[in-house]
Every structure is written in structure tokens, then in C-alpha cells.
């Protein structure tokens, strides 16, 4: 399963669990508009660490969160290399 597919699956699963309406996941979709809240993102990041073995936010130097869904996917793709 590709990183993008894994991430997409996690977004969809968490949205269902949290009873939230997930927007269509396109690269230019702003995460702030995707329908999930910060707690959902923390859950997604924790599960992606379990699935992919990486957490791009684990460093204390991580000072910002991706703005769009595309940024989010690219961040994981770059860290997982």
C-alpha cells in the first residue's frame, strides 16, 4: 500500500470514528477545511507512526503543521524515504 493510500485510509477511518464529514481529499485541500479537528490529526499521526514507522512531528524542532493535504502526504513521503 502506498504512503498516500495509507494516509487517505487513516483520514477516512478517523472521520468515520469521530462522526465527522470529511471533505474530498485533494492535494490543494486545506487541512483546516477538511472536516477534522486537531484531536483527529493527533490520532492520525499516532496511527501513521504505527503503520509507517515514522512520525515527522516527533522532533522538538517541528514547529508547524502542513497546510494542505498534499503538503501532509509529501511530508510523510519525504520522511519515509
Amino acid at each position: 500500500m502506498s504512503i498516500r493510500t495509507t494516509i487517505t485510509t487513516q483520514f477516512q477511518q478517523v472521520a468515520v470514528e469521530q462522526k465527522r464529514k470529511l471533505a474530498t481529499l485533494t492535494d490543494d485541500l486545506k487541512l483546516i477545511d477538511c472536516g477534522l479537528d486537531s484531536l483527529s490529526f493527533a490520532l492520525i499521526v499516532a496511527r501513521l507512526e504505527d503503520a509507517l514507522g515514522v512520525d515527522p512531528f516527533s522532533s522538538e524542532d517541528a514547529t508547524s503543521f502542513p497546510v494542505t493535504f498534499g503538503d501532509f502526504v509529501r511530508l510523510y513521503e519525504s520522511v519515509a524515504k
Partner: protein, 644 residues
């Protein structure tokens, strides 16, 4: 109407089992008595609820429930309350409580080490349970960070009979990462850093001091010098199990540690209370294990197991007053009131001798209990009491700590009995405190209920409405159904995506609910048309049903102060404009609308909460009945806007 004198209250739950939309049982137990109380810990007063079996057995064991941290405590309130009730139903007294600086307990110095204080609070709660009930041994049941702190507290207590650790935070460093990620995600586009300059960390309106961050980072249950208890049950998350290897290590070292993974933690702890689900499998496993421990310990003669219980004295929580002087304290009391249902609330009383007789009632937002998101209602109540107001933060029937009406589901956001509950609260304040100048304040559905109370001519002086998302609600509607707020909010987003190839691919593959999108587009022009027709009808003095404009003008005619506060971008702003139309223009400054930048729907960040508190306070203390024209509110990035 029956009123309780302000003070300690006792509630017995009706022998009715009903469920909410998520299948949560409300309670159950005629054999259980639940009673709020205050007890001391480190010089601070903590609020607890003692769930006592009406006929306790002689096992001599009790249970202290250790809550998780922050928003998880808010979301899991129902589950923890049900757990306490079911434990008591087994014949075992259970105490749930709020750590210092959380929930309804007294404040904690913001710079102190909260972890250290909260572990001490667990020890104090265990002692208090022993003092109140006479039990000799205590089992601690903890959730997430509460589980880790329960393990640490057990090492300081010689009377701990066992530990139930639910989704325990085994590594504080990993938990801190999770909190930092939550914080980072909440700051998307805000340009702020996750950690503040002083090293503290704020998550969803709950702040961990820098000392607490350090202390939390040092928690590692796998490196404890000795096992925290001789008997342990570890119930791990099925989606992200984190305690397996620790549990295996404990077993190898000879500790009786049972390990399970069960589903249900996400829907218990990490979802808004109106959607949260009581995790039946987790509660059943915990109860079964506790019963086993209790039965083993019941083999000792009762006289060795149990001392004579000591009844608590009625207590109020004393808090520093405006001057900080001992003789000018404000006080909090648990109160109950109502007729068919014994509603629960906390009354924060101004200092003795306050000549001004005025009160404010803080209503639930969604199904959040009376403390509010980020504990905002506690902060507002104490701040306003210091300025001379009596503040009552209450739970509507079926929410928080109020029992559910017979035949109704729990955690209803728009219960049909809400108007009756608000009327009881107003009457309670009038008869118990002699106050008739009453303000209603609420966020989201709380704003809706405040508006409905004013429209229904309940005797109130002001309504402070924060981020209402709807002004009308049809009985039988569901939150998941298409609401007008979505109609107002979504066309812009849909328009942006209509040219997206990926979006069309998802439409064609069935991933998008096309019918919902069509409905949004269909309803939007209808709303605009309806708005024009309502304006025309008002001009002709014809009253149409569900006419917000007419209702606001009616409220205004009774000299009530009407205040709306919105976070910028909230759909309620447009909805107010559409549904009240020309009435808003006619009311002018008599219907005040504040818009705050940089806030979310629940004002979950401390900075936006501070701005909101300032605006609400300014409006509350503005002279009645009308305020002279004001063009700027006094705080932050807010502004007072005229709707045009």
C-alpha cells in the same frame, strides 16, 4: 416545584434504563446513591462524587477513578459516571473527582508541577474514600494519563488493593508528542509555536506548565523501581496498544498483571460528548476484575475489613475573592433544583454582603458538562462572582451530572425539556437567593436555549449568545442531518472544488454524497428568497412562523439586552443575517454582534477564550437596559459590527 437549599445534595437515580443515540445506557441503579462533596488535598478543595451502594457489603474495598487529562476528561465524563455507578452497583463504593485546577475543583498555581499535585490528589482521594466509607483498601481505576498517575500514586499508598489501567500512558515522552501534535494541528495557519516561550504547553484550552511538561517527560512506567501494585489489570487500546511489553515484563517479574486489548477508547475519550459512546466491553472487564478482587478480599472477617464510616460535613468550596483577603472569599456550592428531574449545578456566590442582586446562568454547550470547553464556564463563573454576580453553571436534564428524564436519551443537545430546565434554574435563583435580575449565557446550543428562553418570555434581563449555529430546531431532527449552518457554510467550499478533476473522480466513484451537495445548492437560494419574503411580511406586520427577526424585535420590546458573539467565519453570522433580515438593521445597537478573529467554534484556545471572556464581561456589566453606542469592544482583535 421542589428546590434544594444550596449545599450538599444527594441524588438517587431512577430505576430506568434508556439509551442515547449512541447506545449509551443512562443509568440504572436504584441501589446506588450518588453524592457530590468537597475534600481537601494539599490545602486545596477538590470536588468529588461518591457513588455509594445503598446496602454496602462488608468487603472493605472501594474504588477511586482517576480521570484522563484535558479534553479527554470532558469527552469521557458519561463513561466515567456510568463506571462509578456500575461499580457501586456491585456493592463497592466509588469516588470520582476532579484534580486541582481541573473541573470544579479549586485552582492550582499555574506554574506548579501539576503531575506531582495530581498524583497527590489521587492519594488524598483514596484517603478520603477510606474516611467516608470505612473501607480498608482501595483499587485505583485510571484512564490514559490518569492511569499513569494512578500507578505512581499506588507506589505512595500502602492501602492500594489493585490497579485497573485503561489505555495507560506508559511513556510520558510519547504522550507529550501526541499533545504537541494536537497543538500543532490546532495552529495551522496561525503562525504560532506549539510550545510557549516559557516551556508550557496548551492543548484545547488546557495548559500544562513547564514544570509539568518536564515531569510528564520523565514518566516511564517500564522503569519503575518496583511494581505499583500486586494485582493489576491493564486494558489496552485495540487500535494503538502501547502497554503490552510493560505488562509482559510485570508478569515475568511475578506481578499478577492481566492484559487485554479492547475496542472503544477512541469513541469514549476522543469524540465530542454528544457522540461519545460508553465502552461497555471495557467497563464490563473492569467490573468483573474488581468483583474478583473484592470477593477475594471479602474472605477476611468484616471487622478487619471495615471501619465505621464517617459522614462528610456539608462543605462549600472557598475561593479567593476580589481582594484576596480571607474575609472576602467567594464560595461554591453544589445545588440541585427542579421538579420532575433533580437538576445539578454549581452556584458560585459573591462575597457575603454583596448589595447588588444579580445572577448569570451558564448553559451547556452541546453535551459538554457544566464546566464548558477548556473549563471556560468555571473561569467565567468565578470571575463574575468576584465582581458581584451569583453564577450558576448547570447541566440540563440528561447532560453532565443531571439525571435523564424518563423516556429520553442521554446527552441530547436540543432536549425538548430544556426550556423547563432553564425556567427551574431561574426560579431556583429567585427563591433561594432572592435575585430577579438574571442573565442567560451559552455557547452553540447553549446560545440557542438562551434565545428560546427569552422568546418564551422567561424572566431574564440579558441573553449572551456565543456562536449559535441554529435558531430553530425541530423535535426529532438529528445532528447528523443537513442543518442550515451547513447550507450557509458549504457552497463556497463546493464552488472551489467544482473544477477539480480529483473531486469529480470521487463523485463518479461514489465517495461523495452527491445528494447532500445538491441539497446544499438547492436550499441556499431558497433561503435568500425566504429572507426577502420575511422582510416583506414584517413590513406588512404579518407574523410568519419561525421568524427570527420578529422574535428578536419582540425580545427587544421587553427591554432585554441581546448580545451575539461569533468567531469570524462561523456560519451563524450569515444565518443571523438571512433569518433576521431587516430586523437586525432596525434593532441597530440594541442587538449587539461581536466578531472575534482567530477563534474556533468552541473558543478552545486560551488566547481567544480570554478575548471572549472580556467581551462577555463588558456586556454583562454594561448598564441596563441599553448601552450607549460602542464601536469597539475592549479586548484583542474583536470588533462590534452592525449587521447590514
Amino acid at each position: 416545584m421542589r428546590h434544594a437549599v444550596p449545599g450538599r445534595s444527594t441524588s438517587e437515580h431512577p430505576p430506568v434504563i434508556v439509551t442515547n443515540a449512541s447506545g449509551n445506557p443512562t443509568a440504572h441503579m436504584a441501589r446506588v446513591c450518588a453524592e457530590p462533596l468537597y475534600f481537601p488535598s494539599g490545602g486545596r478543595g477538590l470536588l468529588g462524587w461518591l457513588h455509594s451502594p445503598v446496602r454496602p457489603d462488608a468487603s472493605g474495598m472501594g474504588v477511586v477513578i482517576c480521570k484522563p487529562f484535558g479534553n479527554e476528561a470532558l469527552c469521557s465524563h458519561r463513561a466515567i459516571r456510568v463506571l462509578a455507578q456500575t461499580v457501586a452497583d456491585l456493592g463497592i463504593p466509588a469516588l470520582r473527582f476532579d484534580y486541582a485546577g481541573t473541573g470544579d475543583s479549586a485552582e492550582l498555581d499555574p506554574s506548579s508541577d501539576q503531575i506531582h499535585a495530581w498524583v497527590s490528589d489521587i492519594v488524598a482521594a483514596s484517603s478520603e474514600l477510606q474516611r467516608l466509607t470505612g473501607v480498608q483498601r482501595v483499587c485505583l481505576v485510571g484512564f490514559r494519563l490518569g492511569a499513569a498517575m494512578a500507578a505512581l500514586a499506588a507506589m505512595q499508598c500502602d492501602r492500594i488493593g489493585g490497579l485497573v489501567l485503561c489505555a495507560p500512558v506508559v511513556s510520558g515522552r510519547r504522550y507529550l508528542r501526541e499533545l504537541r501534535t494536537t497543538r500543532l494541528a490546532s495552529l495551522v495557519g496561525a503562525g504560532e509555536s506549539a510550545m510557549s516561550a516559557d516551556g508550557s504547553l496548551e492543548v484545547s484550552g488546557h495548559t500544562l506548565s513547564s514544570a509539568s511538561v518536564v515531569a510528564l517527560g520523565e514518566i516511564d512506567l517500564t522503569t519503575l523501581a518496583f511494581p505499583p501494585a500486586s494485582r493489576m489489570l491493564i486494558i489496552d487500546r485495540d487500535d494503538l496498544p502501547a502497554a503490552r511489553s510493560w505488562s509482559d515484563g510485570l508478569t515475568r517479574s511475578g506481578v499478577g498483571a492481566e492484559y487485554l486489548t479492547l475496542p472503544g477508547f477512541v469513541r469514549m475519550l476522543m469524540i465530542a460528548p454528544q457522540f461519545a459512546v460508553v465502552p461497555q466491553a471495557i467497563l464490563a472487564a473492569a467490573n468483573q476484575w474488581l468483583l474478583g478482587v473484592e470477593q477475594r478480599s471479602a474472605t477476611a472477617p468484616p471487622s478487619e475489613n471495615r471501619r465505621a464510616p464517617v459522614k462528610p460535613c456539608p462543605l462549600a468550596l472557598e475561593l479567593p475573592g476580589p481582594s484576596g483577603k480571607r474575609d472576602a472569599m467567594i464560595r461554591e456550592r453544589t445545588v440541585t433544583f427542579g421538579e420532575d428531574v433533580e437538576l445539578f449545578g454549581i452556584a458560585t456566590e459573591p462575597q457575603h454582603g454583596e448589595p447588588r442582586r444579580r445572577a448569570v446562568i451558564l448553559l451547556n454547550a452541546g453535551a459538554d458538562l457544566h464546566i464548558g470547553v477548556g473549563r471556560m464556564n468555571v473561569s467565567l463563573a468565578r470571575s463574575w462572582a468576584r465582581q458581584g454576580y451569583l453564577a450558576l453553571r448547570m447541566d440540563l436534564a440528561g447532560i453532565g451530572d443531571s439525571p435523564t428524564r424518563a423516556g429520553r436519551p442521554t446527552d441530547e443537545v436540543f432536549p425538548p425539556g430544556a426550556l423547563k430546565d432553564v425556567a427551574h434554574a431561574i426560579e431556583f435563583i429567585r427563591t433561594s437567593y432572592g435575585i430577579s435580575d438574571v442573565t442567560l449565557a451559552g455557547l452553540c446550543s447553549g446560545a440557542y436555549h438562551a434565545l428560546r428562553a427569552a422568546v418564551a418570555n422567561l424572566p431574564v434581563s440579558r441573553i449572551l449568545m456565543v456562536n449559535p449555529e441554529n435558531f430553530f430546531w425541530k423535535e426529532g431532527s438529528k445532528l447528523e442531518e443537513l442543518q442550515l449552518a451547513e447550507v450557509v457554510r458549504n457552497p463556497v467550499i463546493y464552488r472551489q472544488r467544482i473544477l477539480s478533476l480529483a473531486a469529480w473522480r470521487r463523485v463518479l466513484s461514489g465517495e461523495v454524497n452527491v445528494w447532500r451537495v445538491v441539497k446544499v445548492y438547492f436550499f441556499r437560494p431558497l433561503l435568500a428568497l425566504e429572507s426577502k419574503l420575511r422582510d416583506l411580511a414584517r413590513w406588512l406586520h404579518i407574523r410568519l412562523p419561525d421568524d427570527l427577526g420578529w422574535e428578536l424585535e419582540h425580545i427587544d420590546s421587553r427591554a432585554l439586552r441581546i448580545v451575539f458573539v461569533f468567531a469570524r467565519g462561523e456560519p451563524g453570522i450569515d444565518l443571523l443575517h438571512i433569518e433576521a433580515g431587516s430586523s437586525i438593521r432596525r434593532l441597530g445597537e440594541r442587538c449587539r454582534v461581536h466578531i472575534i478573529d482567530g477563534a474556533d467554534h468552541t473558543f478552545s484556545k486560551e488566547s481567544s477564550q480570554a478575548v471572549l471572556e472580556q467581551i462577555l464581561s463588558d456586556e454583562l456589566f454594561a448598564k441596563q437596559p441599553r448601552l450607549a453606542e460602542v464601536t469597539r469592544a475592549g479586548a484583542g482583535d474583536s470588533c462590534v459590527e452592525r449587521m447590514r
